[in-house]
Every structure is written in structure tokens, then in C-alpha cells.
Subunit: 324 residues, 6 copies
């Protein structure tokens, strides 16, 4: 944006290029510049007018990319440089200003398009609010009609509110998919639920449809990573591909204020980072999204945006470490 292209004399060039560190914005390529099949395709779905409460989650895709320059491609904890894992950025799906249904259809069609043209690539959607997950999963289903899809959801909420009442709002995606027979309730694992944020009738719906609920408290008792592994194993036994959806509001309000409905009692960022590393390693995980991150609620240090990028890189690291 503010590059240094002014052609002034030679002293500009005295920088030791070979020592130049490599950052994320230098590594991710635009999809139309890439010459071989990418390992992962990232695309933005910048809509949040479908959110129940006021949300600036539509601002996240561009803030997500802006924050890349603050992250190196080298993961010190795992001693791995992501640079050989090819990530392509397909840009944002064009949203209509006011027609939510049209915008949703576009997200679905764009997802189908990406999934069909790059069937071996992992897809990664950057929301937008959680309504986009229903669109993306429907798009995946359309691309792979004979395959069954399981969902691993990290979330404070069940997101099974009634679309007949609310329309396709961010509280409804899981119910849209179950009622729409895209995904079976029993193939949905929700890990991270806690506290007083799901009304009783929603629990009843989840139980009736056999949604696998693990509260954060239960997961901690069992071991969060073991819980994650268990969920992935069970899904692996039952479905053809796993879609992972990360509602950033699964995090505690003290580490992620920048979500429309931040709550105390949620995950720590380290718990989320460890979980995503583990999830990324699993070969059946083909799709992921990160939703409901509202940059406008962050303080001046952009804590939630930075946490969102870190979380994504943990997932990418996991993918990179896949042995399969």
C-alpha cells in the first residue's frame, strides 16, 4: 500500500537481501498468480449484516491480511518453516450491499467453485459472521455430493436457533445444515460450550438431533487435546470429510474482546492454538473457517485480530506436519 517505489539513488539498496526475514505477506500468493496446485486456498466472506447483534465481522478479511506482515513464516515451537506449504489467496467473495440471500448464495457458489477446481486443496474461509458456515458447507456438499460431511465446531454457542424465525442469521447455521439434511446432527461435534449462553430449548434441539456436545469444563477434565482427538476419530469413522468451524467467540473475553458476543469463561488462546495444531494434522480435515471476529471491538493493539492470524497459522502448521 505504501511501498517504496520512488527511484532515488543507490543507497536504497544496501539492505542485505539474503538476511531478509520472510513474513506471511511475502509467502501467501494470489490464486491467479500461482502456477501449481496450492495446498490451501484462503478466501474471504466479508458479510456481517446477517448477524443478530451489531457486528463488524465483515471487516475481518481485510484486517486479517493487513496483520500478516507482523508474522514470520517460521514456527519456532514446531521448528518448521511454512514456506514450502503453498497457500493461495483467492480474494473476497463479492457481497451485495443489502441482499443477504444473494450474498449467501455467492458464498455457497464460490465455495463449490473452489472445492471443485482444487479438490486436493484444503479450503479456508475467513468470515464474516457464522451464517457463512452454512453457505460454505452447502457449497462443499454440492461439490462432493456423494460424500458425507462431519463438522467439528469450536464455539461458545450451538448455533441452532430457528431460521424460520430469524432467517439465515449467525445463530442458525448448524440448524440450517441439519434441517436441510446436509449434515446429520450426530456428525456434529461442538467443543467449547460453557456458561449461560445457550437457552434450554436450544439444548433440547441439540439433544433431539444427537449433536455431540462437550463443554469446555468436560474437555478440560478429560484433556482438551484428547477430546479433540476423540472427536476427530469418531468423525473419521462416520464421514468422508471433516469441516472445521472456529467461532472466535469460543475464546474468553479477556483474550478475544473482538467478537460480537464475547463472554467470560471461554478458552484461553493457548488452548485454541494447541487445538488447531492438532486439528490441522488430521488428514480428514479438508475445510476450515474462522468466523465472527469483529476487529472494531479490539483495543489499539488489535489483540483479537492478532489472535485470529496466530490461530490460522497453527492450523496451517498442523496441515504442514501431516504425514499422510
Amino acid at each position: 500500500m505504501s511501498g517504496h517505489w520512488l527511484q532515488y539513488p543507490e543507497w536504497t539498496w544496501n539492505i542485505a537481501e539474503e538476511m531478509q526475514p520472510t513474513y506471511v505477506h511475502q509467502w501467501v500468493q494470489q490464486l491467479n498468480n500461482i502456477t501449481s496446485t496450492p495446498d490451501m486456498i484462503v478466501y474471504g466472506a466479508p458479510i456481517s449484516r446477517s448477524s443478530i447483534s451489531v457486528s463488524g465481522a465483515s471487516l475481518y478479511p481485510s484486517e486479517f491480511r493487513r496483520a500478516w506482515k507482523g508474522f514470520a513464516t517460521y514456527n519456532l515451537d514446531e521448528d518448521v518453516d511454512l514456506i514450502h506449504y503453498k497457500v493461495a489467496d483467492a480474494g473476497d467473495v463479492e457481497m451485495h450491499t443489502t441482499d443477504i440471500l444473494l450474498s449467501h448464495r455467492r458464498i455457497q457458489e464460490a465455495t463449490t467453485y473452489v472445492a471443485k477446481h482444487f479438490p486436493s486443496s484444503t479450503t479456508c474461509m475467513i468470515g464474516g459472521d457464522h451464517s457463512t458456515t452454512a453457505c460454505a458447507v452447502r457449497g462443499i456438499k454440492e461439490a462432493f455430493q456423494d460424500e458425507t460431511i462431519g463438522i467439528l465446531q469450536l464455539d461458545t454457542h450451538l448455533d441452532v436457533r430457528d431460521p424460520n424465525e430469524l432467517g439465515p442469521a449467525n445463530g442458525t447455521p448448524i440448524r440450517q445444515l441439519i434441517d436441510g439434511q446436509i449434515v446429520e446432527g450426530g456428525n456434529v461435534f461442538n467443543i467449547g460450550l460453557h456458561g449461560y449462553y445457550n437457552a434450554k430449548p436450544l439444548i433440547d434441539y441439540a439433544n433431539e438431533h444427537n449433536i455431540q456436545m462437550v463443554t469446555l469444563k468436560q474437555a478440560r477434565k478429560r484433556g482438551l487435546i484428547k477430546t479433540i482427538q476423540g472427536a476427530l476419530e469418531q468423525l473419521t469413522a462416520k464421514v468422508d470429510r471433516i469441516y472445521v468451524t472456529v467461532d472466535m467467540d469460543v475464546l474468553d473475553i479477556s483474550v478475544a474482546p473482538g467478537v460480537p458476543a464475547s463472554t467470560p469463561g471461554g478458552m484461553t488462546s493457548v488452548e485454541l492454538f494447541d487445538s488447531l495444531l492438532e486439528i490441522g494434522k488430521h488428514p480428514k480435515v479438508k475445510h476450515v473457517d474462522f468466523v465472527c471476529l469483529d476487529p472494531s471491538k479490539d483495543s489499539v493493539v488489535a489483540e483479537t485480530v492478532k489472535t485470529g492470524v496466530y490461530a490460522w497459522l497453527q492450523f496451517v502448521t498442523g496441515c504442514n506436519l501431516r504425514t499422510e
Copy 2:
């Protein structure tokens, strides 16, 4: 909300009731409690998912009412107590969570309902974003089908962007009304335009449809009050009823940060207050709205919300002073 209804002993009641000052929240009555025809009916239209940029203007109606307790009913400048001017609060129009067109229809129908049942009352809609104005004016037109409507708009923008492109977004209401033949372009006065916030094609549209544009600079040269009076006189000669729409973004960013698109170079709050006093006095002004005030962008002192309440009270004072 946090009343003092605990029945503890007598020392609670030692407050000199007769000296009790009177504040706005004590004066405005709920519409269904009122026994005679109110002079003004206030109703909220809490929608902002129709806004082009992220907006929390849907939060304004409730913040507007919360702020009432900080204002006395006595206007010191004009030496008038508003207490004998009857204002009824009809509550908010129920918005659908995601169906913008349905929400818009409800605003229109609610406005028709109010206008028909209380034809002698001034209507005052509290937005919500500027898309609501198109709904309200259509609702008025339906209630008074044989009457012509003129619009006095205080705004930084023309709001004539193309609904064919954007849908019924907050940049389009005036164009919706002109293209929909509800209001003639020549019967729209826009006062307060300035700077670099209206692209050339919008000016072209305005000129083609004969919209009366007065920049803030021109208005200040002429005298803002004289400009307002001139506009009202011209409208009076041409139309049956005048609808006033106040987009709070007409104000300068330093006095009204709490709008989705705040700009430098706008009106001072005193200019807006004086204008609204004058506008309120005019007998042909039957309808008013205040839109695009986003409380979530205010600092801790709630500057724009307070300015919004003050602006509304100035209009009410003007109505109270009507000699006709």
C-alpha cells in the same frame, strides 16, 4: 430499570416532591397510556443492517430514550417549558433479524398506521440508518395519497445512489422516492452538503432531477437560518406537507463522531440546533426523522447521543412555539 421499590422505612420519602425537577423521561408518555391526542408521536426504527458500511445505528432508539433523564423539559434559551406539549412514545417497530425488505415494509406500514390514526400529530421517527426515510415517506404518502410531499434534508450526502445496484441501502432513500414517484426531485431541498463526499455521477443525477442543493458554505454565506426559511417557503408554495430528515452525519466529525461516515467540514451543533428550532416552528412541517446516529462510535461521554437528544428537543421547542 433500577427503580427504588424496596419498602424500607419512612426516611425514604423525605424528598421535597414539590421541588422535584421535571425531566424528559418523566414527561414523554407511552402511546397506549395517553388519553388525548398527542401533539407528537415518536417511534423507533432500529435497523442498520441496510447500511453500506458497518453501523450500530440500530442501537440509537434505546440509547436515545436512556439519555432522556439527563435533560430537563425547560428550555432556558426560549424560556419555555415543553411540559404542555404532549409527546407520546409508540415504541419501536419490530425488526426482522435478517429480512431487510420485511423490516422496511413494517416501518412503512407502521408509519402509515400512525399517520392515519393521528393525522393531527407530528410524527417523529428515530432511526436506524437513512434507508428508513424512504419507508417512512412512502408510509406518509399512503396515508395521505392526495397530498404532495416535500422534503427538507439536512445531510452531508445526497443519498441518491442507485437502489438497482445497492438495494434499499442507506445511500439510496432520496433516489428511491424520486424514481418511485413519491416525491418530485424539485421538491427536495438538501442543505449541508460539503466537501468530497458525493461522487460526480450523484451530482449529475441530482441536477437532472432538479434537487435543490445548498452547500453548507453557500448557506453560511447567505445565513443558515435564512436559507432554511427560504427552503421552507419554497416548499410551502409547492407541496401539501413537509417531511424533514436529519442525517446526523451533517454535523462535523468533531461534534458528532457517532455516525457511520463522520466527516470534517460539517455543521456545528449550534447551527443544527438553531436550524431545528426554526424548522420546528413552521406549520407545514408534519414529519421529522433523525437517522444514522451510531452510539457505538461515541466516546465515554456519549457526545453524539446527547447531541441527538438536544437536536430533537430543539425541534420540539419549535413545534411548541408554533403560532398556528
Copy 3:
């Protein structure tokens, strides 16, 4: 506050009422509307001019109630719906504008009134600063003169500063009660102390009066829940009723900035939530208060207020689970 009472047509009523989730503001009843004895009575003591440093804790009771609508009555972790536990809201005790002693007397008398008239109900005072605890405990003592009272205090501070020096300020309540022979020092347990926030002479006072101090570090080593249980058992053996006082400054500054003297090194919110669940379960705990939460220091996401409501609900859940 901003209800939807405008009587427009039928489409308002298409909401599936039976699926309507139940939130806290729908569950808590006003005391004067209730027909049977409530299980718990909540009342506000909105005073903070007795605070040593500038404090907006007087704003908490109304913010506490405003935040209810963000919480469901269903506790997912314990799989219990609080809806059958009857909570009544008695409103706020009326505070005098400047007469602190009078305000304090009113809190004391109001507490006595509630305790006497509803002896089987748990009382829950929402402060206000910590000076209110001295008033409330004196009020309880007056209601049950023959009973001994023990105090379980979760706090960063001892609150035994000298009222002869400071008057009845928020640093003094425990000393007021000990010096006033309302409570014996040995019947006061303080859990959560840490760091550099209690000057040596205060420790000396505590030791002289046999106050049971457990630092957060000690409690963590032993197990916080075990420490709590141990304290409750010891108190049970010695006193007739236990009063629990939660100074929200016991929490770490990163999770609770909204207190007058937030400190690093404090409890996590999960630790507080688990403690309050345990405390609520204990049948001898008859009284609780939550004090020193200053909403004006929160960021835009209201983190401390939300944490305050969550903490209270954990205590209520505990009460609900009492087997006795």
C-alpha cells in the same frame, strides 16, 4: 426500556413463542410482584462516594440488571435450568446524595428488613463499594441477634484499615465489624490475598485478631476448591450463619479492569466461578454480596460487568444444587 408496544398489524406475532429462549431478565421477578417466598432476594446498594479512590461502583446495580438479557437461565456446565429457583429483585436502597452515614444506615436497615421478613431467603446485595458490607453484616446481626456470623471474604485486600482515620470507607469494613464486635476476627476467612497490596500494619492487625488469611498462592498449592471447602467447614463448626463477600478486585486486572484498584496477580475468572459454585452449594451460606465493580473502567465490551453477572449466576447455581 425500548419495548415494542406499537400496535401495528399481525406480522409482529409470527414468532414461535414456544421456542422462545428464556433469559435472566425474564426470570428474575420484582419483589412486590412475587406471590410466594423467594429463594433469593437481590437488592442494590449504589454508593461509592465512600470509596478511598475515585470509584463508579455506584453505577453497578443498574448495569448489572441491564446485562441480564445477555444471559440464559440454563447452566450448560451443570445441566441445570435456574428457572425454578425463585429470585426476587427488591430494587435499590435509596442513597442520600452526600450524607454517607445516612446512606450506610439505610443499607443496614434495609438489610435487616429483608432478613427479618424473608428469613428463609438468601440475601444478595449488589454494591456499591466495600463499605456496604459492614452495613449489611450489621443489618444481618440486628435481624438475628442471637446468632454468630462468620465471613468468607474473596478479596485482594484485608479491608482492615482504621475507620478512626478514614471513616467508614471501603478499606475498613472488616475492621468495623471486628472492632464493633459484630464478628470475631477468628471467624473471618480471607482467600485471594496476593502481592504488595496490604501494608504491614494491616497484616499485624489481622494477625492480632486472628483473621484467617490464605494467599492465592497458598490456595492454589492446596487446591482452591479444597481451600474454600476447608474454610466453609471450619466456619460451619463455629458460627450460625455464613456471610460471603466478593470484592471483585480479587480478580486479576486482565479479566477485571473495572474495579477501583485492579491488580496483576489475582484470580482468574474460572477460579472465581468455580469457587462461587462451591460456595453456593453450602447450606450455611445465607448471605452474599458482590462489591467494588466499577463499570466505567470497562472497555466497550463490558468485560467486568459480564464477569460480575456470571459470578453471581454461579453462586445461584450452587444454591440451586443444594441438597439440604
Copy 4:
């Protein structure tokens, strides 16, 4: 506070001392260091627990002094260096933590002390909330019992609420003084009133007691400086000494958010600065205070604190320019 007293080698001293600019903190002397009678004595009255709404005005005296280093002693507009006008800082009156009446008595006694011991010095009290003005004026009266006192008040409010109801709160000082027969109502000029911030019964009280009210609108029409001059002339004809009280809430919310009850429609900072220059010039003005400035409501740039220091320097400049 963070001086440079480490005795490292000589290169520290290469600063051209003779070119060293002179700032306010270098100019004002502590009262006990001064060897001749000062022209002005500044003292702080850091109390705000007497404020009706939550207020951090008690923090102002120390923030006022901290901000001095950002101001030079040279006034460019008037081409005058204040350096020869001797200002002494007497420190803050020691406030009791909770005993408001005692604190108020101390302010009164301290004022009497200063006024008696330095009868030729102008006194300048830095509040604290507006309740301190009643104390200070009573203190002046005690020092000069045979003299009549007139008040020139720059304020958005009348401050004549009933102390029988509120106690000696910040809404009551003028009424305390009138009812206490310290000052006659007819000798009080209030300039700056505007809008909806004084309930009708307060206006009635003011009229009954013949308080001279000039709204900001009236003053602007007449000329604010002429209005000020007129008020000073009338007071001069009637009283022996004039006390000026500046409630910082007379300023518009956009220039002074840092007051407990900031309002739109108030004075600009230039209007206040010009007024204080004029007021400072008048030889009968012997006492001044600046009250109700709450630094905790400022943004990171400390706008209201800076405005408070500037305002005070304008008054000092005026004093410096006195010809008498």
C-alpha cells in the same frame, strides 16, 4: 519526579542554559519557599465525593500541576511574559476520606487563612467539584466580614438545588450562599446558561432571588466580552470584592468532555479564554476558582486538562495586565 540527578560525566552539561525556555512549572513557586508576598496564591481542593454524579474532579489539582510543563510562561497573543507576576502554590487542602462536612470545613478554613494572611494576593482555588465554591466564599466572607461579595459565575447550571434535599452537593453552592446570607442573589451573575439543563423550579428560585442570568445565546448576541464587562461593572457598583467561579462544564462537550455533566451547546474554548483574560484585568476580582474538571473522562490527549491550564493562564495574564 523523574529528574536527571545521576552524576555521570560532563557531557550532560552541554546544554545552552541561557537559551533554555521557561515553562510554567519552573515559574510557580511553593508558598513556603517564597520570600515576598505573591501576587496570586493557588491551592487545591481535591474533593469530588460531594458530586451528584460520579466524578473524578478530585484528581484535577495534581493533573493540573503535571500539565504545567507543557506551557511556556510567555503569552504570544498579548506579548507578555508572566514571569514577573508571582504565583505561589500552597498545595492541596488535606481532605478526609469520607467526612464530607469536615473536608468542606477545612476548605473554608484554609481559604480564610490564605485570605487573611495574604490580603493583597488574588486567591485561586483549583477544585474539586462545585461544592467547594460555597466553602471558599464562606471562607472569604469570614476573612473580610465587613465586605460584600459578588459572584460572577460561568456555568451551564445555576447550582441552586436544595441543600436540604441533597446536602452540600455540587448542585447547591449558590443556593447555600444565598440562603446562608453570605451573598445576595442580586449580586450573582451567571453567564453561559443554555439548553435543557436547569429544571423549571431552579429558574423559579433564581428569579425569586434576583439572580442575574444571561444565557450563552443572549451573551453572544450582545457580545460575550461586553456582557462580561457589563456584569463586572454592575457588580463593581454594588459589592466590595468579586469572586469568579468557573465551572468547566460551561464549555461545549466537544472541547471539554472531561467534566461530570458535559453538554452540547456550550461555550467554545476561545470564548472562555477571551472571557477570562477580560475578567483577570478587572481590579475588583480578588478570587477565582476552576471546578468540576474530571481528568478521567479525557481521551489520551488530555484535552480538558490542557484547556483548564490554558484558561487559568488567561486569567493570570489578565491579572498581569491590570493597570490598577
Copy 5:
């Protein structure tokens, strides 16, 4: 940055291209893309470690460009579309991380380079702090060695502090130029000075070197535009080319908090906008800079950044309207 390059189906393209408004980011071209001589060349000098106090002014060039998309090219007040005035963006001069002198030399050389290669283009430097002005003017002098340069400075400060003491800091540029015999003191006009922000010795220096000082108060009395015109006329009579430097701290703190040393008592934004329109019209003005705008001090609405862009566009509009 977050473009929409994903190649999904045709419905993307249903936007009426011909109605597409034109915004600043679409109008300004990169210098190396331009085919004919530009009318103006913009370049960034992102340094602020030379600032006396902590400053984030180095962040302004990129924030300046990011804010372009919020501004149309059409100036409504002057009824002129800037689209035919060719502005080229040369990018930012590469700054060294810690070597201030080297960075300053680069700014100087880059300015010489631009001025020499595009002698007919107006140069516009975007700071950075005010130290950059000394570099730029020296660069201009090098490019046009036989020509005399006059400076029109809009500033709260004289910026004649001693570089022997401070080094080439942001308080010194005018003195650097006078002492370095690049510009004569008598050819420097400073308009906008006010208050207590220039220590006496600096005034003495200015007087000794015959700097033309006009306080804001004097300028308002005379008419600000007349004052500007007078200064430009006098400079025109004496010098070959005029360099205009706009220190954004000339603005009042209420409209421009985002400067390192914001002050009350400064210019309104309208005064600055009108001045820059007038200045831009003058044919001898060949160079301009905008300095000391620190975006990190803005609130969430980016008020100072927006004001900076607006101010720049006013200058461009003036240039566009030049008749010569």
C-alpha cells in the same frame, strides 16, 4: 489489499459501471505508471524518531493513502472534479531504522531528485515530523540553486529551537534553514501562532531574524484569508518560489487530537480548509508539505487523518483552479 479477484460466476458483474463514482484512490496514479508529466507529485517521508516527544507521525503516509477511498474526487463547494488534475504518488522515501541523519539526507536527495526531474510539477511531501521540512527545503534549494525560497508556515510553533542543542529535531527546521542560509528569516511567514507554546527566547530569535509572525488572533481580526493573501503577496515580491509547510498542530485539539503536541486555542478545520484553497490558487506556491500528524492518537473515527486528507484536497483544488 482485499480485492475481489476470485473468478466466480457472472452475477459479480451486474454493477452499472458507468454510474460508478470516482474516488481518490482510483484517481491518484503511481509515478512509474504515469505517461505524461504530473501536475503534482506526492511522496512520503515516514520518519518521526526525530520528534522531541513520542510521535507516531511516521505512520501517517500509509494511513493517508488508506483513507483515500473515503473521498470522492468531486469538490462540491467549488463544483470542480479534480480528475483532470494529474497527481502522481512517488511512494515513500526509504527510512533507515536508526540513522536519523541518513534518513534526513535521503529525504533531501529524494526531494532534489523529484524537483529536478519534474520541475513543472508541484511537490507535496507527506510527513513524518516537522524535521522533514528542513530536508525538503534544502533539497529544493539544491535543485534550484539560483532561486530564493520563501516559506509560508501554518503552525502553533515557531520551530526555531536550537539544533546545536537538540540536533535536527522537529522543533528546529526553520532555524536550520535560517542559520544554514537556505532561507532568510524575513522570508518566513508564520500564521497560526497562539497561546503559551513558544518560550520567550524563541520569540527573541524570531524577532532578531525578522520572521514574520501573525498570531491566530491577529489573523482572525484582519481576516484569515486576507492575512494569507497578504503574506503570499509579500513573499511573491521577494522570492522566486514559495514553500508551504502545514504543521497539523496548528489546528485546535478538538479537531486534531492526532498530533504530538495538540493544543487548545488553535485553528478550526474550516479555517485551515479555506486557507489551503486560497494558498493552492497562488501560482508561486510550488511546494507543500503536511507534517506532524500522528494517527495513533486519533479515536476510532480517525478524525485527524480524515482532516489531513481533506486539507490536502483543498490545496489540490486550489491548484486546479489556478488561472495561470
Copy 6:
């Protein structure tokens, strides 16, 4: 600063002096007031213009001292009163406004001066950015030329970027010391590294020079305290004196937003506090610094500043508990 030196009557002195708690600001003495050799000497190095990104770390030394009054000298967790451990404050090293190299030289010389004159005292430098560490260690080396120095670094970054490229910036100090042969790479332990904040070439440099890197993840697995102890033991075996440098950015962004490059995934404050207690106990630790704390990024509750003071007190407590 705002002391109470006004000599009003006797009621000022009714405070029970013997009960007066003791706070840090009352305990730390100015170096030039001290009569015996201090146990620790604190000095500030208020420079941050050497920081790669914009930093207000130069503001920390004065904010550090301002925050002292909020801390008692009594450490409750360790039951020790620090009052007998003598800490002297040497003030701040005088920084040049723009000459970074000169400022760095002064830090080095001041450190040498302190170390030579008080060889038995522990030195504690308060930064400033991390560039100051290179200066301080060089200064130590100069004072004790025959001794070898080891470094224990708590940091998110390696700080081995190339000073040939960046100059002596805050990303380079460890490399400056290794390349300058002041410290051997193998004698540097870095604990706390995590995530994506060190580019691959920096890791390569660290490996080539045998820097001992322990990621936070590894340290937690092993036990953080054990890891610290192990590092100190290894250093003890190899070097004569240990220098500890605490880059506050080692902390997680949720507990320490006030650093130039805050990151998620860092240490908790309790981990840092425990580590510093342990480090302080070790007799070979002779020098410590705390750097890169930028108070201007804190929220209104000053969370990072408070954490910085607490961390320092933990180190002091450790020193106090030394048995050697």
C-alpha cells in the same frame, strides 16, 4: 507533586502516624540522599527512538516511579517486608533529543559509573527499548573487564537482527554483544520464545552462535521454574556474573498490551512473577533490566505499568531472600 504543604490548623495532623502503611515511593531513596551503600541501584534509560516500530517506552521510567505509590513494601506471599533492603534511585540518564549514538554512549558510561562506584550493589536499569541492554552490558563489561558475563533473557524475540542493517535498534542488542565479543553466544539463555515472531535467518544465527533457546512451550513442559534454575546453574558454571534482561513483550498480549509488539501466546503474569522471584534469589545475578514497556498503549487502568512494577518487586523480593 501535589503534596499537602498548606499550613492550615491542627486538624491536619490527627492521622495516627504509627499505623501509617509504608509504600514503595516512601521506601526507595534518591541515590544522593543515601548514607550507606545501597543493595540495589535503579536508573532509567528513557529512550525509544531506537525502536524499530513506534514506541513510547521512553515514557516508562517516569510512569514506573509514578506507580510506586500503589504498592506496599510488604510481600504477603513471601511474608517479607522489603523495607530493610536498600534501594536507591539514581534518576534517569540524560538522553539527547536526536543523537541516538550519543544517548547510547551515555547509558553505557552511566552503567559503568554505577557498577564501578557501587560494585556490591545490584544494578537495575529501567528502559527504554531493548537497544539499551547492549549499552548496559557493554558498560558492565567495561567496569569488570576481567569477568565473563552471561545473559538470561526473557523475551518473545531473539533480538539478533543485524545492526549493520538496522543500526543499534531494539531488535539487535544480543547480536551487538555477540558480534562485539562482549558476551559469548553460548552464554546467552533465551526463555520465552514462541510462535511466529522470529524469522528463520534469526534462528540460523542463534544456532550458529550457540544461543541457548528454550521455547515457552518447552519450558512449560519441563516446568518453568526448573528451566530457569537450570539456566542459572549452567550460567553459574561458565560465567562470573549474570545479567538478566526482561523484555516485557515476553508476556501475553492479554496481560501486557503496553509493549511495542505485543503477541498472543506469551507468558502469563504469574509465570513472569514466579520466574523473577527465583531469578532474584540467585547470588550470581548482579544486573537486571526491564525494557520495552510502552505505557501509552495501556488502557485507562495502566495494566502493563502495574505489571512492570510488580515484576520488579518480585525480583527485589528474590534478592532480599538471598541467603548468600
